[in-house]
């Protein structure tokens, strides 16, 4: 398992070298979007309108941060569970999104989209909201302010610690539950 330092925007070359289990420290600009924001993004695409950020080479972080206390750019900011974005992710990958950051399992459709579009799914440690917040140097809302915690934010991150969960070659890191050992098979 290798360790990489990557900067945004991400390229095909960045992505194909990564294998499930690799550690990545990511620096640059990433965009937050979760449930409601994803629906809005896809609605914009359906209407043929521009998206609020450039998808090509982009990294989308599934997060709804807590409010920024005085003196900090953002509150706690750990990943939310990713499967809820599975409906939307293949379409965004087909338009150039290179990676998503979240936690938990992805659908077969998303895994196929990662293969088809040379993209990856990164995991960050769920519940480590205070810790991950320290890697976020700047944050500003760029769309859908009215969605509150679900608004789209542009984040500037430095050495954001990620783990490759699903790579662009079909590899996956998550443990397969041993049902037999647990006595239910």
């Amino acid at each position: 398992m290798a360790e990489y330092k990557l900067s945004t925007p991400l390229t095909d070359e960045d992505m194909v070298q990564l294998k499930a289990g690799d550690v990545v420290k990511l620096t640059g600009t990433i965009y937050t979007a979760r449930d409601a924001a994803h629906k809005r993004l896809v609605d914009l695409l359906d209407e043929g309108k521009e998206l609020p950020f450039e998808l090509k080479g982009s990294v989308v972080y599934y997060v709804g941060p807590s409010p920024a206390p005085p003196g900090r750019p953002i509150g706690a900011a750990g990943p939310t569970t990713s499967y809820r974005m599975d409906t939307y992710a293949p379409r965004l990958h087909s338009l150039g999104q290179k990676a998503s950051i979240g936690k938990g399992k992805r659908s077969d459709e998303v895994k196929q989209a990662l293969k088809d579009n040379k993209a990856v799914y990164f995991g960050a440690t769920g519940g480590a909201g205070a810790l991950l917040s320290m890697c976020i140097k700047e944050a500003k809302v760029i769309a859908f302010d009215e969605l509150g915690p679900e608004a789209i934010r542009e984040l500037t991150v430095e050495d954001f610690p990620l783990l490759v969960i699903n790579d662009s070659h079909g590899g996956e890191l998550y443990a397969v539950p041993d049902r037999k050992a647990a006595g239910i098979e």
């Binding site: 807590s66 206390p69 706690a76 769920g126 810790l131």
Partner: protein, 279 residues
């Protein structure tokens, strides 16, 4: 009849919302230290290291432990010889939630289930009231995150399925949830009562301290047995493999209808935030 001013309730509740979201309880910390020491895999150890660094940082920085500061869930035990003056008890608790979530820079996660419009102040809170003997008011607060709550289930088993059926359903639920609910998780199980009561039993079981077994030795044995078997799944911290898939299993039981065997599984993420106050 003893009287408590509504302001006292509001302030106590607001304080709990803030501190519970910043401070991981000692019982949970202690268990995680034990689990981390028992793990062999570097990935599992690394997750526990990050969890620890996170609780230390939350305490120091004033940031919440997790961005999902939850829906505010309360189990209230209200003595029959006490009254709240100036406001209905439920309104006072909601006012405390609003104050705590605003002043503590906590995320407001309550929304309309269909339009998904955020209510803006994390209310209405989820309040379960019990009337008990005495003149005390005890309020237990839990910040319940959505990711783990989504992995919970209620089912109605046939009585013939018995303990074997219960075990199978619970273990299968944890297996299906996999990495989604931020393992290691705590599993709260409600057995019996009715459809809705089983879910409440499961939720209440999560309020018991980590390591505190059921006072009924027979149920305590079932808790231990289930925890051992679930951990054989090997899902591990964050689903990366390891010995700790669950860090505790709690069971609350209650008689049910002769035709029924209600079962509820309520999953709690590793950020198990709870606090109580007695007024």
């Amino acid at each position: 009849m003893r009287t408590i001013k509504a302001e006292q309730v509001i302030d106590a509740v607001a304080k709990m919302c803030v501190s519970a979201n910043r401070y991981l309880p000692e019982d949970v910390r202690k268990r995680f230290e034990e689990c981390a020491a028992a793990e062999d895999s570097p990935a599992a150890k690394e997750v526990f290291r990050q969890i620890k660094e996170n609780w230390e940082l939350a305490e120091k920085s004033g940031l919440p432990l997790c961005q999902d500061t939850g829906l505010a869930v309360y189990i209230v035990e209200m003595g029959e010889d006490v009254r709240v003056e100036g406001m209905n008890i439920r309104d006072a608790i909601d006012a405390g939630t609003r104050k705590g979530y605003e002043e503590g820079f906590l995320r407001k996660s309550s929304c309309d289930p269909l339009t998904r419009k955020n209510t803006g102040d994390n209310t209405p809170s989820i309040i379960h009231m019990d009337v008990v003997p005495g003149d005390k008011l005890k309020i237990t607060f839990m910040a319940k995150g959505g990711g783990s709550e989504n992995m919970s289930r209620v089912t109605m088993l046939a009585p013939a399925q018995g303990w074997a059926g219960i075990k199978k359903f619970v273990i299968e639920r944890v297996a299906e949830a996999g990495p989604n609910p931020c393992p290691p998780t705590m599993v709260g199980i409600g057995i019996g009562g009715t459809f809705e009561y089983s879910a409440l039993l499961a939720k209440k079981s999560l309020m018991r301290k980590v390591g505190e077994a059921s006072p009924d030795p027979e149920i305590a044995k079932l808790e231990a047995e289930l925890m051992e078997d679930i951990n054989k799944l090997g899902i591990g911290p964050m689903g990366l493999g390891g010995k700790t898939t669950v860090f505790d299993v709690k069971i609350e039981m209650r008689p049910c209808h002769i035709a029924s065997l209600p079962l509820a599984v309520n999953i709690q993420c590793h950020s198990s935030r709870h606090e109580e106050v007695e007024l």
